[in-house]
């Protein structure tokens, strides 16, 4: 059984060199951030992830959270670990400084989040949901609401949840039916919410639910949904948790993975209505939810990177210890560990190279999000905002789709033992499986990409990013020219497919949506290649410096080469599907299925 070791060196390489920490340090509000601080923060977070969170990962999977009499009990050790997590201040990593947070940029907080997710994704979901609530509050909460809820949510004394989904309202939130009736300074909320992650549990003193509901006079559809704060315990004047609100967990789901994270059915208003407080203006709830979407979707993309990394480490250790067969071509002599077999190597390289590409694209997005948030120049800010809006669906869907494949390859490397739960490889595959679904399925992400992000703006931002990719390809010369050529061909494919989307979107949107996922995968694959080519260039320069870690940089170059030879050629296939594959998707009548 392997233990998680945070890949600090890889992470710091991406943070410092690829995503450009120096640029982030120059942003207003980020002046304190430098390489030394980042290393210290990541180093301590790695310790915590490895020593506190990781040992609970199996326990959480086997035991799961349990519900009895509307009370959810987390798996053994989780409550104490959460207490430690909170006391160590990790909950406030990216939080607002005026309320006790550290205000660190995404480029620092996201890599830390990767470690939490690698070591224990189910645990990590609790603080992740809290940070989602905080993000919503930051933008839309009243000063009084900020004062009342944000300090406790930042410290982690209280946790947060997002209540969007209802049985009839999943991807289509326009169908939300939960009611909110005004009563004095508050509202009475009643209805049923499902799929509420960490909706009820024993780790925090109070739980702050953000709930989408309709006012009695609200218009139909998306323009009639409002956002409410519904605390489990109504805060007293002194801020302590007071009276129990009329909200309870009536059931938790039996799931394929993330067993430790209770997925709750929440019942509001069985005893007359839960007290809720309106956030911002009435009927703008869904719009508010969209403001934190980038933040949340990037978080899930990182889960993809994280679980893939963990699955890789697990498979790598097995490959280095499992003895089976002799080396190819040897009829006698010692039997060898399976890492000596070419196909096992191929699988490991497949995992490793894609994880590195995914991490780089995710951290680049984190840095872009920081620039979109903090850049002093308005035009630059807008430019970064457009880029991040484009990249978010790619990072969310591509990193998670690849993660499922990578975790599956992890099982494959274990052979029959991978199918047996005992080895632990299967948990990563089961845990990974939710990541392509929640926070907008892969299909939803792809629709967002081809619609709002490429189609409506006629590919302007996409073509600008493609131009940046071309610069990297052009700069890959000398020893890296093969990488540059492979990247160039893949960029051609992406550009042609993008042009097809732009040309077709107006006249035949159905065709575009029919090939949206292959287009998204194409974007992810080429974006990953772009990052790998840049990594190779940087490694090439760095290895020439005196005292350089030549082995590390050579590994980067070789991994980039593998990506170009084994992953990037898929771009041509995706392109073909995009430009010529829509018809057959739509051709059958419903009866013909």
């Amino acid at each position: 059984m392997s233990s998680y070791v945070a890949p600090l060196k890889d992470m710091l390489f991406v943070i410092n060199e690829l995503a450009g920490l120096d640029d982030i340090s120059k942003l207003p509000g980020c002046e304190e951030v430098n390489a030394e601080l980042v290393e210290a923060v990541l180093g301590e977070a790695a310790k915590f992830a490895q020593e506190v969170l990781e040992p609970l990962n199996r326990v959480g999977d086997k035991e799961g959270s349990k519900l009895a009499n509307h009370v959810v009990t987390s798996p053994a050790g989780f409550k104490a670990a959460y207490q430690q997590f909170r006391e160590a201040g990790w909950n406030g990593l990216g939080g607002m400084t005026e309320y006790g947070g550290q205000g660190l940029p995404h480029l620092v907080s996201n890599p830390v989040q990767e470690m939490w997710n690698s070591s224990n994704m189910a645990f990590c979901l609790c603080p992740m949901l809290t940070s989602g609530v905080l993000e919503a509050m930051r933008h839309h909460g009243s000063p009084e609401q900020l004062q009342r809820y944000v300090p406790k949510l930042t410290s982690g004394e209280w946790s947060g949840t997002m209540n969007l989904t209802e049985p009839q309202a999943g991807s289509d939130l326009a169908a939300v039916r939960t009611k909110a009736v005004p009563e004095g300074d508050h509202y009475k909320i009643s209805g049923t919410k499902i799929f509420i992650t960490w909706g009820e549990h024993d780790m925090a003193d109070n739980i702050v639910h953000l709930v989408l509901a309709r006012l009695p006079d609200a218009p139909e559809g998306v323009k009639g949904i409002s956002l409410f704060i519904v605390p489990k315990f109504l805060p007293n004047a002194d801020g302590s948790p007071g009276e129990r609100n009329d909200v309870k967990c009536v059931s938790i789901e039996h799931k394929l993975g993330i067993h430790a994270s209770p997925t709750c059915v929440m019942q509001y208003g069985d005893a007359g209505g839960a007290v809720g407080y309106l956030v911002g203006e009435a009927n703008r709830g869904l719009e508010y939810m969209f403001t934190m979407m980038n933040h949340a979707r990037l978080g899930v993309g990182l889960e993809g990177v994280a679980v893939a990394e963990r699955a890789y480490q697990h498979a790598l250790e097995y490959a280095k210890t499992r003895v089976q067969g002799r080396e190819v071509g040897q009829r006698s002599g010692d039997r060898v560990t399976i890492i000596h077999h070419p196909d096992v190597r191929r699988m490991l390289m497949h995992m490793k190279s894609q994880i590195e590409a995914m991490r780089a694209l995710a951290y680049l997005s984190a840095a872009t999000l920081d620039k979109a948030k903090h850049h002093p120049d308005a035009a630059e800010k807008r430019r970064h905002q457009a880029v991040i809006d484009l990249l978010i669906p790619v990072v969310k869907a591509w990193c998670t789709e690849q993660c499922v494949e990578i975790a599956s390859t992890g099982v494959q490397i274990h052979g029959g033992m991978g199918f047996v739960e005992e080895t632990g490889a299967a948990q990563y595959l089961r845990d990974a499986r939710i990541t392509t679904i929640y926070e907008g399925t892969t299909g939803i992400q792809a629709n967002d990409l081809v619609g709002r992000k490429v189609g409506y703006e006629k590919g302007v931002t996409a073509m600008a990013v493609i131009a940046q990719m071309r610069e990297t390809a052009a700069a890959s010369t000398g020893d890296l020219s093969a990488i540059g050529q492979a990247l160039s061909r893949a960029i051609d494919a992406l550009q042609e497919a993008t042009q097809w989307i732009v040309d077709t979107f107006q006249k035949n949107p159905n065709a575009v949506y029919a090939v949206a996922v292959p287009y998204l995968k194409l974007f992810g694959t080429v974006g990953g290649g772009w990052m790998m080519a840049r990594a190779a260039q940087i490694a090439q320069c760095k290895r020439a410096e005196p005292g350089a870690d030549v082995g590390f940089y050579d590994t980067k170059v070789t991994t980039a080469r593998f990506y170009c030879e084994h992953i990037l050629p898929q771009a041509a296939g995706f392109r073909q599907t995009v430009v010529a594959g829509a018809d057959s998707v739509l051709a059958l009548s419903e009866a013909q299925f």
Binding site: L37, E39, A40, V41, V52, A88, G89, Q102
Partner: protein
């Protein structure tokens, strides 16, 4: 009461140590480094004593290259108040360390020096003893408990036969063993605060100490690989082998 603690920068204990190809030492370039675990225990002890109201100020010292600043920052994130880096590119051997520390003690006038019992890289286990001798102070090494009462400290040491209890006069030098405490996880707010704590950088020359090595390393090599064991047929054969081949009985 002011306390001086030491923090040596060593190869991370979870890293596989490699001997340099020229046999002059072990590879430290591009290797993950960390605070010596026994020094970490020493820092933790000082911080606990400060939290208990016994200690008023914790000064942490590290000797070595500029990167030792990171080690000092770690100690400051744990709770040390300020740091002193004695910067040198030389290989600093135990006697030189003791001399540098003596100079710092004379400058800082702490009532107690808490050190790790040894560093996990060279396992010398000499600096604390040498420092006490140079200062003419009492020493208590390998301690698993310490309580300071006014001018003396009650000490528990772990020895082969069990636990040894001692009383030493302060000022004194004590060195921490594994079971003295379990170091805390550094908190994020304290990492941020540590950045702003004062860190002084001085050179051995300024302290009037010559840190040039006096011992010469002839060669460093990996221990010989263990050869495979053998299966014995019965107890007689085992006893015979232990007697005649291993010569242990």
């Amino acid at each position: 009461m002011k306390v001086l603690v030491t923090a040596k920068r060593v190869i991370d204990p979870y890293v596989k140590v490699r001997v340099k190809s020229d046999g002059t030492g072990v590879e430290t370039a591009n290797v993950k480094m960390t605070i010596n675990p026994f020094c970490e225990i020493a820092v933790e002890q000082a911080v606990r004593m400060k939290e208990a109201g016994i200690v008023t100020e914790i000064v942490v010292v590290s000797i070595g290259p500029l990167q030792c600043q990171e080690t000092i920052r770690t100690a400051m994130a744990m709770g040390a108040d300020r740091g002193i880096l004695v910067e040198t590119a030389e290989e600093v051997q135990p006697l030189a360390v003791a001399k540098v520390l003596k100079a710092i003690v004379e400058k800082e006038q702490p009532r107690l020096v808490i050190m790790g019992k040894q560093a996990i890289d060279d396992d010398s286990n000499q600096c604390g003893q040498m420092l006490a001798a140079l200062l003419g102070w009492p020493q208590a090494t390998h301690i698993s408990n310490v309580t300071v009462n006014g001018d003396s400290a009650e000490i528990t040491r772990e020895i082969d036969g069990g636990l040894e209890k001692l009383t030493v006069k302060v000022p004194a030098v004590v060195t921490a063993d594994l079971r003295l405490n379990e170091p805390r996880y550094v908190t994020l707010p304290n990492i941020m605060k540590a950045k702003k704590k004062p860190l002084e950088n001085i050179k051995p020359d300024a302290l009037g100490v010559d840190v040039k090595p006096r011992l010469k390393t002839l060669k460093v090599e990996e221990p010989a690989k263990r050869s495979a064991g053998v299966k014995v047929a019965d107890v007689q054969e085992l006893v015979a082998k232990l007697k005649n081949e291993a010569r242990v009985i």
